[in-house]
């Protein structure tokens, strides 16, 4: 996997001047950020109490970069993406605090109609379910065309040409024919390609990919990931890749954020993270991936597939202290009473843990 495109942010007139002073935000590892998220808090106010789905998440991403957000179901990674798009259902959810600065514009302060104009044009999103994310009674072509008509004015025949061009770009065979077909006539992989075509039709600066390959089978997964990476290179899009699949992360991302119960617990370059995960949660995630020798039973006596005991705590009743403490093998009294600060433990490798790096560090190096 090539890392040549890592962090090579192109200097841009728009980005440089107005960007937030980055040293004020903990754990941002990008010099010339295209998108800066600072202390984002999205809470859900329900009858059972307040659920802090996203609780003080900060990150930044440069042009053309891929940032992965990893975590279990319910850790707030999808909510982070929806918050960036300002698509959190309100009520019950609300973005209570934070900044999302895209190219010098704070998206959270925009009026709704200006935000709507940004969606699809400057920041776009693809979803997990290619089966249900396309309207079943509209042709693929019309759905892609709709994005273009929403953001641009172009004559009909040019629109049609652009739609076919987009379908060809995402490598759908016979694009002109496919444009006239309905979603049910396409396979899952083809539908996800069509979704990508829709999301990228206006060449947005940022693409949020929320588990883009989870619903697809493995061979198709690889093709879709390759397609995203390829288009990213062609269009210079920054990609925020949300996934629970560490294999996907290793293949795609330059940098990784690990989330747990709405908070960022670790951030590092993909290489550093896989070489030496610091947070016990990240270590747990990696230990729960089956490895070839292990599955053959060669080392079954000494090493079995590890799981992380317990489940993600209910967001309504987060434990005091470190949120991961109840499931953590290394938790002590300090962990249970005090939330660990989010610190740079090694150079450009941040984690929020009192015992960061103990135990299995460098185990996979």
């Amino acid at each position: 996997m090539s890392h040549s495109r890592a962090l090579q942010a192109k200097p841009s007139a728009a980005a440089g001047g107005q960007a937030k002073p980055i040293d004020s935000i903990a754990g941002i590892a990008v010099a010339d950020p295209l998108l800066t998220v600072a202390d984002l808090k999205t809470y859900f106010f329900t009858r059972n109490g307040t659920a802090k789905a996203v609780d003080g998440v900060s990150f930044a991403i440069a042009r053309g970069e891929t940032l992965a957000i990893v975590g279990e179901s319910g850790c707030g990674k999808s909510m982070t993406a929806l918050s960036l798009m300002r698509l959190v259902a309100d009520p019950p959810g609300r973005i209570v605090d934070g900044e999302v600065v895209l190219d010098g514009v704070d998206l959270l302060k925009l009026p709704e109609d200006e935000m709507r104009a940004m969606r699809g044009r400057d920041i776009s999103m693809i979803f997990q379910e290619p089966m249900t994310s396309l309207n079943p009674v509209m042709t693929i072509g019309r759905q892609i065309g709709e994005v273009l008509t929403m953001h641009k004015t172009m004559p009909r025949d040019e629109l049609q040409k652009k739609v076919v061009e987009m379908l060809a770009l995402v490598r759908i065979p016979e694009p002109a024919q496919r444009a006239k077909e309905y979603p049910h006539q396409l396979s899952g992989g083809m539908r996800q390609r069509a979704m990508i075509a829709m999301a990228l039709a206006c060449s947005p600066k940022v693409l949020l990919a929320d588990e883009p390959t989870t619903a697809l089978d493995v061979t198709i997964q690889a093709q879709i990931l390759e397609l995203i990476a390829d288009l990213q290179r062609k269009l210079g899009t920054a990609v925020v890749l949300i996934t629970h699949d560490l294999g996907v992360v290793a293949e795609m991302a330059q940098r990784v954020i690990v989330m747990y119960a709405g908070r960022k617990v670790e951030e590092a370059s993909a290489e550093d993270l896989f070489a030496g995960p610091l947070h016990p949660y990240t270590q747990g995630l990696m230990a729960s991936i089956p490895r070839l020798g292990l599955m053959r039973g060669e080392s079954a006596k000494t090493e079995r597939l590890q799981e992380i005991p317990g489940i993600v705590p209910a967001l309504y009743s987060l434990p005091q202290g470190c949120v991961f403490a109840p499931r953590c093998p290394r938790a002590d009294d300090k962990c249970r009473s005090e939330f660990p600060p989010y610190e740079e433990k090694h150079s450009r490798h941040w984690a929020a843990c009192w015992h960061a790096g103990e135990g299995k560090e460098r185990a996979h190096g």
């Binding site: 979803f127 309207n135 009674v137 709709e146 994005v147």
Partner: protein, 298 residues
Amino acid sequence: MTTTLDHSAELARAGANVSTRWQAIRFLARRYPLGAFGAFIILIFILTALLAHWISPYDPTLTNARASLAVPGAAHWLGADFMGRDILSRIIGGAQISLAVGIGATVLGLSVGIPIGLASGYFGGWLDLIIQRFIDIMQSLPLLVMALVMAASLGPSLRNTIIAIAIPLVPSIARIVRSNTLALKEMPFVEAARAIGIGETWIAARHVLPNTLAPLIVLATAQFGSAILVEASLSFLGLGVPEPYPSWGRMLSESAAEYMRTAPWLVIFPGVAISLVVFGANLLGDALRDLLDPRLRT
């Protein structure tokens, strides 16, 4: 519930090997013989209404003292009424009235009910609450009673009859659209549409509404039948389409009391016409429901 129009996929699943529209129709007719029969009746009915001017043997309003209460025979196939008007011609003419009322009331009801239901379901909140309480009130009255009140206050004319029948249809249409909208607005494709910058009103009209069409088609077919029935009832009670238009309901009411025993054909033939058309509409509606609703397909 999310019923979608997925014709070709559904046909393929049912084992049909169809490539042309005609083959598809033949397959469906064999699979739903009752529905096909209903469709056939409705087709005949519509053709009769459209071609009334050419196929009617007499002018339906032409009186002829000599033919008063004529027995069905060569001159008057279905007999003639007290004023000597040809029953067959009046039934053919009545088809026009019934078709106008059926289509008019259904279309009017749909065009009022759909926006109300869509707004109520999609935007929710206070709007939904207020609309739904109004609909509760309207639905607490039976269709016929509601139409009676409307017809009595609007006065008898073809236009008013259509309005009087359409208004009571609005609540059920609005409810169907609302309930489907509630489910559809949570679908990922609605969120995906938002994510590419499409506005809420546009999403409601272009993404959500077309997905509610299948249950609406079924409902419209059923309401087409009941609109015809209500028109007949209103006319029977003297509140429907006024003279001299030949209305099936009034043909019954004029003759029922006086001539039932002496000239039963005055009652039987309009009655058969009403029953057949309503029966046909219901059969067609049932078949469409089975065809379009995956949950009811066996």
